[in-house]
């Protein structure tokens, strides 16, 4: 749901990570603290089970009862039976951690098994598993512990059974939900197409991809067990004397707190320290595994201090929108990574500009920069944007808000994500109107209905439809209505028809053309589809790797492209004269990632006509107004030298 911007290939670090990778990214203090606790626990168990040292943990000495810390040979004082608190805590920690490990093992195995069974082995199995989960869910854990205590008496094993038998359902639910997604992944389908059975696929393909979520739940289980064990020991169902446990020490400390607070104090510190660390670890794991977890601070406007640029007066009349040397970067603690460099554009009134580029070209970022609202995590690192001759950095927040919507509007690629799913589309369009031109709701409704009709959704019933009730094409029309209801001068459409059927696409394109004429708008149409842009645009700008590679009138550029990339794009399309079933001319290589952009020509590795200059200095955008190319050896000049 986040405002995703196409900034290149999927992440390298983070999303696809093995266990080792996860651990490497974890803050050191967490790992060290957890390790210390575990070591302390192991030491405690060793003390407890070794014949020589167990007396430290168990020997009672009423003489020393309630001793204060650092007296009577103790470090942290003594409990009501004179046993040193530090040894009781160590041993108790060991027992509690052991208990937590057992519970985690049971709950994880059972949860994984049941989750898989329910989601991958047929509908009957699913119904059975769901019913079992719901029955387990209906009964609070502590009460189950009471019942088990009734059956087999209280003790650590009671705690283990009670917690193990109830916690698994939480994991099973999550596993089930994840497998429902995983089983539709192409690699699972491919394994099935190769004839592999469900058990093999579960073990080899599903379980390895469920490991991260299992690890996450495991930290949660350990924390829950420690706390629950404390609670159960408090009501007498946990560890029984003389076996120590964290909970038992705390419970005893509670009973005898009036005589000496120290067992309770130190026990509490131990448990709070351990559980807080575990929860912090769990949080960190959740952030690592779910990219949505680390959400950068949303920004509301231009970040850098305004340095107002002035436009020539006559230019202000003819140029609706201009960008001068705009650069945008992803803001990272390790340093900013540029995604758009030196964008300079001038958009004439009432013209349609098509911006063409593939993934990683920076075209969507350019759109957002032109609007003065970058997605979270991106920062404008240079340049200025002018709306009708005025630098928007000079506008205050309220002025900017007024201009947005009234002067310039954006239609998103994912139209459904650009509206609130909880309100009807009509209500949201009316809300847009009201935000700029306050009026009574009847008037707003009328205006909205009119606009909806204008985009082809004439039935008044559409006003009351929720976004999820509209098809892709209808939603795109509704989004257009929301953008155009304020009659903006400039409309930016970012891949508005990608993902729609060709027939629907054609209708939307002609709709936009009509509306542009009727409302006298200037349009920027962003797409990866060269043919589509050629149909709708007057001028074209081709972008590659964060830069503008070539600009010009559409007919000129497509007939005689100057930049080798543009030419490659044009020639590699099937259906453009190439005979069927013959090899297409293809551009070798891949689009480089922002982190790999060289300081020289960014197209160099894929270029078939490179010169020495190309590997020494980056070409600048060069040419007469209206027809520019960023290349040391553009195609036209090549033809000249040959001729």
């Amino acid at each position: 749901m986040s405002a995703a911007v196409d900034i290149g290939r999927p992440v390298r670090a983070g999303a696809q990570s093995g266990v080792a990778r996860i651990l490497r990214g974890t803050p050191r203090w967490m790992l060290v603290t957890v390790a210390l606790f575990v070591l302390a626990g192991i030491a405690g168990l060793f003390l407890m089970w070794s014949p020589d040292y167990s007396k430290l943990v168990f020997r009672q000495s009423l003489r020393n009862a309630y001793a204060a810390p650092l007296t009577k040979g103790t470090l942290l004082g003594a409990d009501q039976l004179g046993r040193a608190v530090e040894y009781r805590l160590l041993a108790g920690l060991g027992i509690s951690l052991l208990c937590a490990a057992a519970v985690t093992l049971i709950a994880t195995t059972l949860g994984l098994f049941m989750g898989l069974l329910g989601s991958f082995f047929g509908r009957t199995a699913d119904r059975v598993v769901t019913t079992v989960i719901d029955v387990t869910w209906a009964y609070p854990t502590i009460l189950l512990a009471v019942v088990i205590a009734g059956i087999q008496g209280p003790g650590v094993s009671t705690v283990i059974w009670a917690l193990g038998l109830t916690l698994w359902s939480a994991l099973a639910r999550i596993v089930r939900a994840q497998v429902l997604v995983l089983r539709e992944q192409d690699y699972v389908l491919a394994a099935r197409a190769l004839g592999y059975g469900r058990v093999y696929i579960s073990l080899r393909h599903l379980v390895p991809n469920l490991v991260p979520v299992c690890i996450l739940m495991a930290t949660l289980f350990v924390a829950l067990t420690i706390i629950a064990e404390a609670g159960l020991s408090f009501i007498g169902l946990g560890a029984q004397s003389p076996t120590p446990s964290l909970g038992k020490t705390l419970a005893e400390g509670f009973s005898f707190a009036s005589s000496s607070p120290w067992p309770l104090v130190f026990g509490s510190l131990t448990i709070i320290g351990l559980v807080t660390t575990l929860n912090a670890l769990g949080d960190h794991l959740r952030d690592t595994l779910d990219p949505k977890g680390t959400i950068p601070l949303p920004r509301l406007g231009i970040i850098r201090p305004p340095a107002p640029a002035l436009a020539a007066p006559d230019e202000a009349r003819t140029v609706a929108l201009a960008a001068r040397d705009v650069s945008v970067a992803i803001s990272r603690p390790s340093g900013d990574v540029p995604v758009l460099t030196s964008l300079s554009l001038a958009l004439s009134q009432n013209r349609t500009l098509g911006i063409v580029g593939e993934s990683g070209s920076g075209k969507s970022v350019a759109a957002r920069a032109l609007l003065g609202l970058l997605p979270a995590g991106l920062v404008q690192s240079g340049g200025s944007v002018l709306w009708q001759g005025r630098d928007i950095a000079a506008l205050d927040a309220e002025a900017l808000r007024r201009e947005r919507g009234r002067f310039i509007a954006l239609v998103f690629q994912d139209a459904r994500a650009s509206v609130d799913p909880l309100y009807t589309v009509g209500a949201q369009i009316a809300e847009t109107l009201q935000a700029h031109f306050p009026q009574d709701s009847a008037a707003a409704r009328q205006a909205t209905l009119g606009m909806l009709a204008r985009v082809g959704l004439a039935d008044p019933a559409y006003f009351d439809r929720y976004p999820h009730q509209l098809s892709g094409g209808q939603m795109q029309r509704a989004a257009l209505a929301a953008a155009l209801v304020l009659r903006p001068r400039v409309l930016i459409a970012d891949e508005p028809t990608t993902g729609l059927d060709a027939t629907t696409q054609k209708k939307i394109v002609s709709l936009v053309r009509e509306l542009r004429r009727e409302l006298g708008m200037t349009v920027i149409w962003i797409s990866h589809d060269l043919d589509l842009v050629s149909e709708i645009a007057d001028d074209i700008a081709v972008m590659y790797a964060g830069q503008v590679a070539e600009t010009g009138a559409v007919a000129d550029v497509l007939r005689a492209p100057s930049h080798p990339y543009t030419r490659g794009l044009i020639e590699s399309r099937p259906g453009r004269g190439a005979a069927p079933k013959t090899r297409l001319p293809a551009i070798a290589g891949n689009v480089p990632e922002p982190a790999d952009w060289p300081a020289t020509c960014r197209f160099l590795p894929r270029c078939g006509q490179a010169l020495a200059a190309c590997s020494m200095v980056q070409p600048a955008l060069d040419g007469a107004h209206g027809r520019q190319v960023r290349c040391h050896n553009p195609v036209a000049r090549q033809a000249e030298t040959v001729a």
Binding site: M1, V147, I151, L264, I272, L373, R406, V419, L422
Partner: protein
């Protein structure tokens, strides 16, 4: 131009079509029937589980050292414990369907009476804790989210983390010490005045409060970065409108689901809190009834608590349905 007749994929053919309403009603009925099935299974498990425990209530009522086996058997016959298990079960279930929960084998009080007396206390405690949780979690969670990265945010996160990590009796002792013993504002334990409810409710609410606050914060942050938020900014909507009308509503949806989960947690933890503060609720009665093999009381209370949890889940599901139009059409 799209003709007005082009319908969305999951639309029905005409306005006023009764089918959607019927289907929704059928879904509700199905859900109810399923819940009853779940409760039935819980009842069976409770019934069987209790009888798996060795011994029975006769050892509570007659001193095993002095009573003769004949006397114990006579008592069993009197209580109906010598009947075959299936007969006992059938009697119990048919009694349930008529609203008869049986009587405590120890005190001979009707279970329904015990429930009415003690149940009210537990209910009051749980409701108070529930109200406290959401009255605090929502404002503080939103505050932490909107002031994200600041000192206030970190402080709220820290407090929430500690609340989640502290066992309730530890917190109880701390609060009792500070608020009751030292400051004298609140009574230490027992019941009788509304003030007696405050400390137990605070202790009960602590851990779920920590969890809920963090959930509200995360959910709010997630919505704040959503595409529609940016889209609205670009349409020139005021930031306050975006926050209160849109982000908040979407952010609170997961909280509805969380609430039903927390009812379950609260039901479990009342046990401990009632013991600490000597609050005369159902919790202690339940523990005792299991340990003394007071079957009918134990079964009755078990089923009652399961009913509470199931109802909470149903209510939460219904609320979610009414809040999120996407779920209504699924």
């Amino acid at each position: 131009m799209t003709s007005p007749k082009e319908l969305a994929p999951n639309e029905t053919s005409g306005r006023g079509d009764p089918r959607p309403a019927l289907l929704a009603a059928a879904a509700v009925v199905r859900r109810l029937a399923y819940s009853l099935l779940v409760l039935f299974i819980v009842a069976v498990i409770a019934f069987v589980g209790l009888r798996l425990a060795p011994g029975d209530v006769t050892t509570q009522l007659l001193d095993p050292a002095r009573a003769t086996p004949e006397e114990l058997d006579a008592l069993r016959r009197e209580l109906g414990l010598d009947q075959p298990v299936l007969v006992q079960f059938w009697d119990y279930v048919s009694g349930l369907l008529q609203g008869d929960l049986g009587s405590s084998l120890v005190t001979r009080e009707p279970v329904s009476q015990i429930v009415l007396e003690a149940g009210g206390y537990t209910l009051a405690l749980a409701l108070a804790a529930f109200a406290l949780i959401y009255a605090l979690a929502i404002p503080f969670g939103i505050l932490a989210a909107t002031l994200r990265g600041s000192l206030a945010d970190r402080a709220i996160n820290f407090v929430a983390a500690v609340l989640m990590a502290t066992p309730n009796f530890v917190l109880a002792i701390l609060l009792v010490n500070v608020l009751a013993l030292q400051a004298g504002w609140l009574p230490v334990a027992g019941s009788g005045t509304p003030l007696h409810l405050v400390l137990p409710a605070m202790v009960l609410a602590a851990e779920p409060l920590g969890f809920a606050t963090r959930l509200v914060r995360t959910s709010y942050l997630e919505q704040a970065g959503a595409t529609y938020a940016d889209s609205m900014r670009l349409r020139g909507l005021r930031e306050s409108a975006i926050r209160w009308r849109h982000i908040l509503r979407n952010a609170l949806l997961p909280v509805i689901s969380l609430a039903s989960v927390q009812v379950r947690t609260l039901v479990g933890y009342t046990l401990i809190v009632e013991t600490i503060f000597r609050w005369p609720g159902l919790g202690k009665r339940l523990v005792d009834s299991v340990l003394t093999r007071d079957y009918y009381l134990a079964q009755g209370l078990t089923i009652l608590l399961a009913v509470v949890v199931v109802i909470a889940t149903l209510v939460s599901a219904l609320l979610y349905r009414s809040a999120d139009p996407r779920v209504r059409d699924a």
